[in-house]
Symmetry: C2
Subunit: 211 residues, 2 copies
Amino acid sequence: MTRVAIVGGTGELGLGLAVRLSKRHQVVVGSRDPSRAKDAASKATGLSGGKVEGGTNQEAALWCEVAVLAIPELPSDETLLSIKPAVAGKLVVSPIVPMTVRDGLFVPALESGSAAERVSSVLQTRVASAFHTVPAARLLDADTALDYDVLVTADTRDVYAEVAALVSSIEGLRPLYAGPLRNSRMLETMTPTLLNVGKLNKIKSPSIKVV
Amino acid sequence: MTRVAIVGGTGELGLGLAVRLSKRHQVVVGSRDPSRAKDAASKATGLSGGKVEGGTNQEAALWCEVAVLAIPELPSDETLLSIKPAVAGKLVVSPIVPMTVRDGLFVPALESGSAAERVSSVLQTRVASAFHTVPAARLLDADTALDYDVLVTADTRDVYAEVAALVSSIEGLRPLYAGPLRNSRMLETMTPTLLNVGKLNKIKSPSIKVV
């Protein structure tokens, strides 16, 4: 059992991860606004049957062993710096996918590099990226059996192993190592690709399996 | 039945596509060197049980209705210009994935844009991209049942439908539309990602399914 903070966790992905992770771990949902965090936590508690708490991002980050940054877009340096002291020496997981819409389809928002590398350069702790292609809607429905692969980038096999353990703790998710953090752009590109494929081919909540 | 040219088709992917496509279509493998093309054609004929012919790239391109550019890297303008008159008004399919190796792992070779867009800008005909993530080794083994998704970019739904018909003509491949050709970079990024995942997690001939 690990103490997991879902920083910025009031969106769909954050809630979904809270629902699934709280079956095996202690989970605190963080938000800039603590009352939104409490609301999200009680919603996640209701969906999971487990117990999810809420607090500020700083409180969640200070308390946790692992912080998942469930932020829907590239976080500002200000947001990252506000949790930097709290996550020092801890594992931080970035599922962040900066996307923009062009003619009704998604494209990566960053010209180069990745959200995970930017997070790493500010936070200066162990950062990995994962969970980019897990559909939030499926996570939120705690009764749905999952069967997805989760590609992970991390600069060392040791950090990968930590994240792999977290991923595997959600039933139906298989972690796969995809190389160092600088490969995160390749993973962050898969999400807009999948969302477009879902939209254009009428596939609901598309995800991937490596076969 | 369509007349399909596999331009630059003496590599593994070209041969594999020739093997599979020749079950339903007339296939000519092209090469700059016609004797290499003949060798590849007889090899493909042996593997498929169908009949594959060989010729120069220009001969194959002139004869065909659809040209697949099974070239392992970004083709030079010279190569493209040599077939440009022959493919005018025809459908050209790019499975091209420019990759380079960094510290033993694959990364996209192009800083921006895609092979498919470059092909399109030179050839000035209907260009689509597809087949990026279909493992050549599995195609080559004609007895192996395939079960993969093939993401396709094309600027119109009509061009997509042409490519989708070609993809579907290979048993076990499901075409999925991924948007206009400018999204091809997103597909061309999936190949190095998958190859890395295969290498790092000991998965042979990795491919994808959208679930």
